[in-house]
Symmetry: C2
Subunit: 424 residues, 2 copies
Amino acid sequence: KINSDRLWNTLHETCEWGAAHRYGEKPTDTGMARLTLNDDDARVRRWFGAEVQKLGCTLSVDQMGNMFARQPGRLNSAAPMIAMGSHLDTQPRGGRYDGILGIMAALEVLRTMKESGFQTNYDVGVVNWTNEEGARFPKSMCSSGVWAGAIPIQQAWDLRDIHDPSVTLRSELERHGYLGDIACSSDLATGYPLGAHFELHIEQGPILPENNRSIGVVRGAQSYRWLNMTVQGQDAHTGTTPLSARRDPLLASSRMIAASHDIAKRHDALASTGIIRVPSNASTNTISSQVTFTLDIRHPQDSVVHAVQDECLKAFEAIALQDGKGVSFDWTLDTDSPAVKFDDNCVASIQAAADQLVGREKSMLMTSGAGHDTVYTSQHCPSAMIFVPCRDGVSHHPTEYCSPQDCAMGTQALLEAVVHYDKF
Amino acid sequence: KINSDRLWNTLHETCEWGAAHRYGEKPTDTGMARLTLNDDDARVRRWFGAEVQKLGCTLSVDQMGNMFARQPGRLNSAAPMIAMGSHLDTQPRGGRYDGILGIMAALEVLRTMKESGFQTNYDVGVVNWTNEEGARFPKSMCSSGVWAGAIPIQQAWDLRDIHDPSVTLRSELERHGYLGDIACSSDLATGYPLGAHFELHIEQGPILPENNRSIGVVRGAQSYRWLNMTVQGQDAHTGTTPLSARRDPLLASSRMIAASHDIAKRHDALASTGIIRVPSNASTNTISSQVTFTLDIRHPQDSVVHAVQDECLKAFEAIALQDGKGVSFDWTLDTDSPAVKFDDNCVASIQAAADQLVGREKSMLMTSGAGHDTVYTSQHCPSAMIFVPCRDGVSHHPTEYCSPQDCAMGTQALLEAVVHYDKF
Ligand SMILES: NC(=O)NCCC(=O)O
Ligand SMILES: NC(=O)NCCC(=O)O
């Protein structure tokens, strides 16, 4: 049985690195700003590396800075390890649980096993995946994506800090000494293959709390695509240029954002814009020359995501012609994450753990709304996820919260799912 | 008769200070980025001060850095001078004529008078008004506004650089030595009163070219108000937060911008958004917590501007409740510039000049779409403006262009209007 207090304390102690956005009185009443490979991310990585080595694990780092900690099993088998993985990076205004809980839970599982002298049959271990959030370097699940062969490593290395284009992901890996020499790949000969991948994560949505369930047995993840739109118009004076003579990219972008939302709603999908930018020299009395904005489209089915995208682009074409002399637009695809179905045996192991811990009426099968590293690992090894509820479904926000009980319950489920799978 | 070549050369020579945004091959095929009190603005100010002194003018600088050059009249009267004024600052992506032409024309008028030994009855002179554009320090016609008593000087001094809040207008005046000691006021005892104010300016719109006229006799300026909106929502994950659970300030802002445009259109007014901002730590997969945007509403009648503003704010209230759990919003008034009717005698002087130069069929009475320093001077002295056409009505854009012929024609009209008014 895992140690709930140790788990809780370790999680919050290590959140000292990157704590930000205080919202209450208690020491832990802050969010996090531990962006991928910033100084605090490097600190927590060094701590994590030291901690798993203390437990007797061997630590390997690959060329994307993914950290693999491995604890030998009883059978001394050469088979790839059963991994528990997640991420230590956060959103710029993120919380203390998204990703972090998954790593701390995995560590707690290893600590519990060591303490109680329990040995698995096969090797087990923990993976800290680099740049899961895609917040600083704009590709989410970036390094599990490279590992899975879905993202070319050069493209990932070349990703630029979204606010400072002079910094690349690779330059930050080098700066902190996390450009390892193992290939970032599941290849048996050159990379770091995994036998299975289990991930504990907060749900980040309202479904578990609304259904009064404490464990989500996650059997897949919804599809999503990130588009980066650039709308081109022409600078003009706001006081002397008649509406009919304008090419106003901000007006067009506004209509596009509203339209994408309305289109997504009709399809029961999601479309969201997180970032919009006018040139830094914009002024109140000048129509901007150019506007860029992001578009994040999601639905459990790939076909619906594509339909929403197509309908949006068609609507955008009409909007581009609608006001004044019209604007032009262009777009690039930043992330493409198709829908994923997890492995039946992994899901069954989690279901078995959940049945035993909370029973069928307190757990539920579900599909993840967010992307996770497990989405990529599932392309190369049996994988599945455990969700625990977070307060009001709030995530990517400083007040994100998962109770000590739920953290512990999820960690216990992770332990038991891994043990169940190891036997199987 | 003014010297067209000298005018043209002086204008383009001094545009070396602040030239930016090249768009063509010719040396003068650039726009300007001579923001108020940046280093280039300081350079052109020093040049202007030296140049008018060479002509025998006395130079005075007030506490807003407004520069007054004065040439004595024949009568040695103590009456306030007849001023020709405009501004040397530009938009960040501005052109070579907006404001600059007015100053260069005024200088050419003084040069022509001196050269031909012509003396006015009363003192005449030139005023360079500080921060007309309001692009760097966000209050347009800022220092003529202080001079007119419409803007408290402390408020103007405290204006912050819109992109670097550590810099104020006053700190920049001090840095360049343009914090003069004369009160910025039309007060006879402490300030710098004017007997009249004439301003030559490019139209910045399409009315003159569309009507094939070469001189606009400007009898007033339309009303406008600048609102700064702040929309407050809550950070949330774009993949796991159902639309119904969101407070999305960027979606709301988009609907507001589109709505304001549609409302203005129904009133035959203008509503424009030049700047929109999400927090600098925004990310693609997080709904922003807060969005700010500017709103610039214009119409020849104050009552319509107010009606559009009221209708917009009412529409915004409905929009704020429309999606998910709703957002809240707040606003401040950055600029309030009511409609203005210029002085009948000044307008008549300009009309007389235009009649003589181009005839009635090539001139037209018109209302300015943009604010100008003359809007404020007209509150304290007889004032009016001359417009000349600019290519395609394009302004606040690097390719802004006024032909040598039109520059010269406007300058000749300025000279004759001043002489006409001086006689009268
Ligand atoms: N869990 C999570 O926030 N992942 C980031 C990728 C996404 O936006 O879904
Ligand atoms: N002429 C001019 O661009 N003035 C700035 C104030 C305005 O936006 O109308």
